[in-house]
Amino acid sequence: MMIIETDRLTKSYNGRGGCRGITLQVPEGCIFGLLGPNGAGKSTFVKMLAGLHRPDSGRASVLGLPLGRPEARRQLGYLPELFRFQDWLTPEEVLRFHGQLGGLRPQETHSQDFRLRIRDSLELVGLSDAAERRVGGFSKGMQQRLGLAAALLLDPKLVILDEPASALDPIGRYEIRSLLKRLQGRGVTVFLNTHLLEDVEELCDEAAFLYEGELLASGPLRELLSGTGDNWRFRVGGWLPETLSELNDSSGNALLRLIDSDESGNAHLSARVTDREQAGYLCSLFIRSGLTLYESGPEPNNLEAWFLQMVKSRQGGIPQ
């Protein structure tokens, strides 16, 4: 079952920005990553899913219900990107308030059960020690943790997180990643809008790529990345300016690209190869061409390469 389905969803601001014709499906139970550079329309798309923005055209359903329906939002946890909680409240009071906004009666939010739930939520995001402090004194990271606690408070089936780790330190990010994995284990679907590619790479089953308001790619992450092949890097000596064209004449379908070179003949090269054997062939080609091979190996972050390739292909440049 698809927990989010959009059909040509469009939103612009006086004819500019936003996103256009987004058709996307998010399966239930997965962690889905939404990627794209700044200004790609990711936050606009996320805000439409959360019912904060009204689409100009197109259709969408969240949890099987049309966009913006309170019944769907009852099962939705949302962490906005640039948000604040009431400075004058404590985390406990914020969560109690959100419990009431979520449909609980005031007396229910003061019950022993709900107090325990608040305590558990704060413990889950590492804010137990700050339960009595006013939110106004919180750091950005603590506010983000509290936002996550509020999003998870009412046991949602779907969690939409807009840059959930942008203000967190490495430990905080690790904790959030562990938490999201645990949520997935409990059957919760997580929709993640993030700039942190390592989070997507580690967590997401599926991803989509937005660029200048358009959806360029979407699907299982493994399939998206398989289209890129493996990127390999090489460091060689004895480099001359004309060497690149000579190498590419013999390199088959593995197009070599020069990253940088210096006057002493050292150069960095990059190539996308279909398998390790092709990388080995390139190494032998360098040696046969009289170059000295100092280093070779696969690039560590395929998602980053894919991301850059997507962006640069749209900009008309050659991906490095």
Partner: protein, 281 residues
Amino acid sequence: MTMYISVTFKELTRKRVFLVTLILTLFFLVLFAFGVRELAHTVEQNQTSPAGALLNKMVFMVLGLFFAQFLTAFFVLFSSMGIITGERENGLLLAVAARPLSRWKLYLAKWLGHAVWITVYSTCLFVAVVWTIHSFAGLPLFAGDLLRGYGLFIWMPLLLLSLTMLGSVYLPMLGTGILAALLYGFSLFSGLVGGITTYGGSPPALDKALLLIGLILPTDSVYRRGLYELLGGSDWAGLALSDMGPFSVGSVPSNSFLLYTAGYAIVLLLLGCRAFSRKDL
């Protein structure tokens, strides 16, 4: 719908809005009580006629409530001018509006959260002013008049709140504050001009202009009708309130006009709910 009552109270108390307002209000009330006591003593010593003495006591009431309505209006303006746009700009509304609550309910909940505490403050102020005049100057008051006057006194800031909230859906915080303060000022000014015209009549064009301002923001008309009711309606107030310079009530707003103000508030709230429901946050 009631969730904002407690949150607004905490905002007003923890941000010390209530504390500062109460301290300054108390300062005003002490000064006012001192002034009333001294003036009442002077009037007594001058052995003015009973009618003259009654008129003087009514003047105290008019002045006291005139300043009190200022205080309530400022309380409304400063506490509610950023109620929508301000919270949208600083990100407070994002997590709230994504909750399973219709936007119109959220709008009314925020209105209610402020209305309750505005009513509490206005009630305290009204009771304090009226009690001061009654106790120190000995102005006779009757329960029916008091209730009618009180009802209209608290209705005035609620009208202003409805207007300020609607402005806040469209305009930034500062713009909303300026708009609401200017409209309130126009309404007050038109009331003062209307008071002056009771002496020598007024040209029809001026009457129309005053009526138009009263229709755009009827706060001053409500205040004047409340004053009229509090001071005994047609029994006494008609006599006294026509001889107070700019504070005179030239023409008492009718019951139909009060019905208009009820419709006015409902329309403002409906427009606010509609606009807020369509607003991108």
